[in-house]
């Protein structure tokens, strides 16, 4: 009987060996993916086991952590708090014990929680010296005064809207506001009474205003006339016209090529063979529609792409991709070139357009995380400004600047004038809804230029107001004052 016994001994050994192999697979090969699985409760427990690192604006934290009562089923020790949560929500996102995290809170979770590999040395040191593990900080590029001006302006205005402001020379995001907003501290805990109810109330299906939508980055609107800046840049870059003051070849009335439809202007404005400067000043649909049609879909698309259209930006918070379609016919291209038809842009995208013009044609990659710090404030990563593209030459940028400055000096954007500062801008009133039945969106994009020629800020503002009187909506009336206060706040804080 000994031969089969020996074989049984081998068989039992193989059973144990199989278990050993499986265990190595589980605890070595798959260990990290199981450990970091967001559904693994331990990830949440770790996230809230120590005071979370802070998100910092202008040297002051806009977030905090507070100790919660840890008992029974509540295994989380700390909970997130926010200062002016509603104002900063488009920047921070949320970190909730019950509902997870998103945007900056989620993207930089490793740093904020202290588990990021780049903190390894620090953590090892803390472990040896017996100090509690601490999260690092995320230092943002935002400007508190500009953010406040943007949010207060939107709030005062009362309708839905968003503001995005960029430093044109670096791409630093200075303001990112969305209204209506939400306070992430209302559901930062995991109480089924308060937090879950607050969360429920913010959901889109309960709340049609969708306050948790980050309009500055994640909503695309038809940009309307503000897109004419892109069309003008395309005309100059492609040599269709070489100066702001030569007459364009623009018939009035203008029948779109291949159709019998007339493209109309808003009101009776002097658009027949108008110069680019005049056409931008009074916002001629006919002139820019025809430019788009003359250049054709491909050239317009190429220019729009140079400004960042048709791709998501990572600031590092992901933005929606703005849209300029390909495969359009001549009349569709004409409509798209005045910011209608399929064209749609995020507020950040239009701020990028203004910033590229202000920065002499160079578009800087927009970003909002300046640096990452360990808990003892050592810098562990720093974002360097990065050129994204050059949508137009320096010479053409200056031509476009002078055109946009005329808009503010004596055109539709006079509401944005700031004494002692040169402001360039463009208004927009975008139609939407079936047969333009809904209230248009009021747009304003602008930049400020200091006497020394530097340009500290470019801003885009959009207001969607279902309740306002249709005639009242125009970029110059609703959006420009907000843009102005944001630019003033930035200029003031620079002094």
């Amino acid at each position: 009987m000994n031969k089969p016994l020996r074989r049984i001994a081998i068989f039992c050994g193989l059973l144990v060996l199989t278990l050993l192999l499986r265990d190595n697979w589980l605890q070595y090969v798959k260990a990290d993916s199981l450990k970091d699985d967001p559904k693994n409760r331990r990830v949440t427990i770790a996230r809230y086991s120590t005071p979370r690192g802070d998100i910092i604006v202008d040297g002051d934290p806009i977030t905090g952590s507070t100790k919660t009562s840890k008992s029974g089923l509540n295994d989380l020790e700390y909970k997130r708090t926010y200062k002016d949560g509603a104002m900063w929500a488009p920047v921070t996102g949320y970190a909730s014990q019950a509902f997870g995290a998103n945007q900056l809170e989620s993207i930089e979770d490793g740093i904020l929680t202290g588990t990021d590999d780049r903190l390894f040395f620090r953590n090892t040191l803390d472990m040896i010296t017996g100090k509690q593990k601490q999260g690092g900080n995320v230092v943002t590029t935002l400007n508190a005064a500009a953010q406040k001006a943007a949010y207060d302006g939107l709030k005062k205005q009362g309708g839905k809207g968003a503001v995005a402001a960029i430093d044109p020379s670096t791409g630093k995001i200075l303001a990112l506001a969305s209204y209506p907003s939400y306070d992430p501290s209302t559901f930062a805990g995991n109480s089924t009474d308060t937090d879950a109810k607050a969360w429920q109330k913010l959901q889109k299906k309960v709340n049609p205003d969708d306050p948790m939508l980050n309009r500055a980055l994640r909503e695309v609107y038809p940009p309307g006339s503000t897109f004419k800046v892109v069309t003008a840049a395309a005309a100059l870059e492609n040599g269709l016209y070489t100066s702001a003051d030569e007459n364009t070849d623009s018939p009035l009335p203008y029948i779109m090529k291949g159709t019998t439809t007339e493209l109309k202007n808003e009101g009776n404005i002097p658009c027949k063979n108008a110069t680019l400067r005049v056409a931008l000043k009074v916002s001629c649909n006919t002139v820019f529609g025809k430019i788009g049609s003359d250049l054709g879909n491909d050239k317009m698309l190429a220019e729009a792409k140079k400004f960042g259209f048709d791709e998501e930006q990572f600031t590092p918070t992901r933005t929606a991709a703005s849209v300029f379609s390909d495969d359009m016919n001549s009349s569709q291209t004409a409509l798209s070139s005045i910011g209608q038809y399929n064209t749609a842009a995020t507020p950040l995208q239009m701020a990028m357009v203004a910033s590229a013009v202000a920065n002499d044609g160079k578009l800087m990659k927009p970003y909002m995380v300046d640096k990452l710090q360990s808990s003892n404030l050592d810098t562990i990563a720093q974002t360097d400004p990065q050129e994204m593209s050059q949508p137009l030459s320096s010479k053409n940028a200056q031509i476009l600047q002078s055109m946009m400055e005329t808009v503010v000096k004596e055109g539709t954007g006079t509401n944005a004038q700031i004494p002692g500062v040169t402001v360039g801008g463009k208004t927009g009133t975008a139609q939407h809804g079936v047969a333009n039945s809904k209230n248009p969106y009021a747009w304003f994009i602008s930049y400020a230029k200091m006497p020394d020629g530097s340009s500290p800020v470019a801003v885009a503002t959009v207001i969607e107001d279902d309740n306002a009187n249709r005639d009242d909506i125009s970029g110059g009336g609703l959006a420009a004052p907000i843009a102005k206060s944001v630019m003033e706040a930035v200029i003031k804080s620079k002094k």
Binding site: L5, I8, A9, L15, L26, Y28, L34
Partner: protein, 480 residues
Amino acid sequence: MSSTTNTPTHHTSTIGAIGAPSRRNTELALLVFAVAIPVFAYANVGLAIDDKVPAGLLSYGLGLGLLAAVGHLAVRKFAPYADPMLLPLATLLNGLGLVVIWRLDQSKLLQSLPNYFQAAPRQLLYTALGIGLFVVVLIFLKDHRVLQRYTYISMFGALVLLVLPLVPGLGANIYGAKIWINIPGLGSLQPGEFAKIALAVFFAGYLMVKRDALALASRRFMGLYLPRGRDLGPILVVWLMSILILVFETDLGTSLLFFGMFVIMLYVATERTSWIVFGLLMSAAGAVGVASFEPHVQQRVQAWLDPMKEYTLSQQGVVGHSEQSMQALWAFGSGGTLGTGLGQGHSDLIRFAANSDFILATFGEELGLAGIMAILLIYGLIVERGVRTALAARDPFGKLLAVGLSGAFALQVFVVAGGVMGLIPLTGMTMPFMAYGGSSVLANWALIGILIRISDTARRPAPAPAGNPDAEMTQVVRPS
């Protein structure tokens, strides 16, 4: 108390096997470690959770030490030539299990569950009863061959034990598996654990008598020796019994364990590989057949194939789904190579049965890959010492019984650990010695007792032949 004082033979001859040392001092030395390691682990848990050495350390250490001492003295007195590894290894696993059960008792999450109770004190009581049963086995089972007389009584006993959970009013359906019985005042009992031993006795007795018929009377067909139809009877009966367990008690593990044990013993008894082939085919057919209509088994298989889906369903509150499998996998993964350290993991997220069926996951998270490998090797060592005992045994009944018990032990470890680690579908059995549960602890201590008895008999020096010193070298007949 040296080994030689107990040797009942006066030979000083060259026949080494006869003068084999008893190895009792080795056992004692190993036992010191087997008690010290859990005591340190216990202190470790207390320091990790409360920053202080637990108040019960002294009494716990003394308790475990006393139990180990009682076991050791019983072996020294009643089975002096027994294998020196079995008792220390079982003591170590039992002690570590106690520590982790105590550690899970401290979990605030588990304390907040409705049917929480302090499990560690009860497990300590079960351990004491288990060692008591171990001693009783050593005292009253002077020779394992006595069990041979109870072959058919064992069969009857095993069947009664297996049927008990199905008796209305006595059986309890706990989370789908009907393998428990409720005894008023005593709590619940898993009769399957005891049936395991009774069946091993029956199979050993039966196969010892029938082995020649089963082995020799066969026809050759396609390179395999096929048994005669009438010899197929017993294997068919056992197969049917396993299937019935699977159908009526919906317990895959017990079913697999019994059938697997029978096939192993059949193979050892007959030395016919064809039986293994038959066994595998029959168990595969049975498992697939039952799985095709038994929803509980199907659900276990689904949960095994896609634990994440099972987890999601349970989170959505779908009745009959459990998050345990996925939680166990997360526990293992989060432990990584070295583990979080005792008392510092979050395996309490497994909630129900965290300290019984899923106790290995806590070891996995808190002691890591290193700890689990050590534990699996300890189990492997117990099994191999058992098979070693079978090899050394002089009588076929002892050989069969030892290999049956060891094989069942190995299969149980494989089925439970494999289930918890997601290697095979989950079953309702417990890790021997480590998991919380009186039936399991008692039955496995009895199992170790029997193995120790067989190994003592096997290693005991042969009785001295009548002495004619001159003829000594030629007349000693070495036992086979």
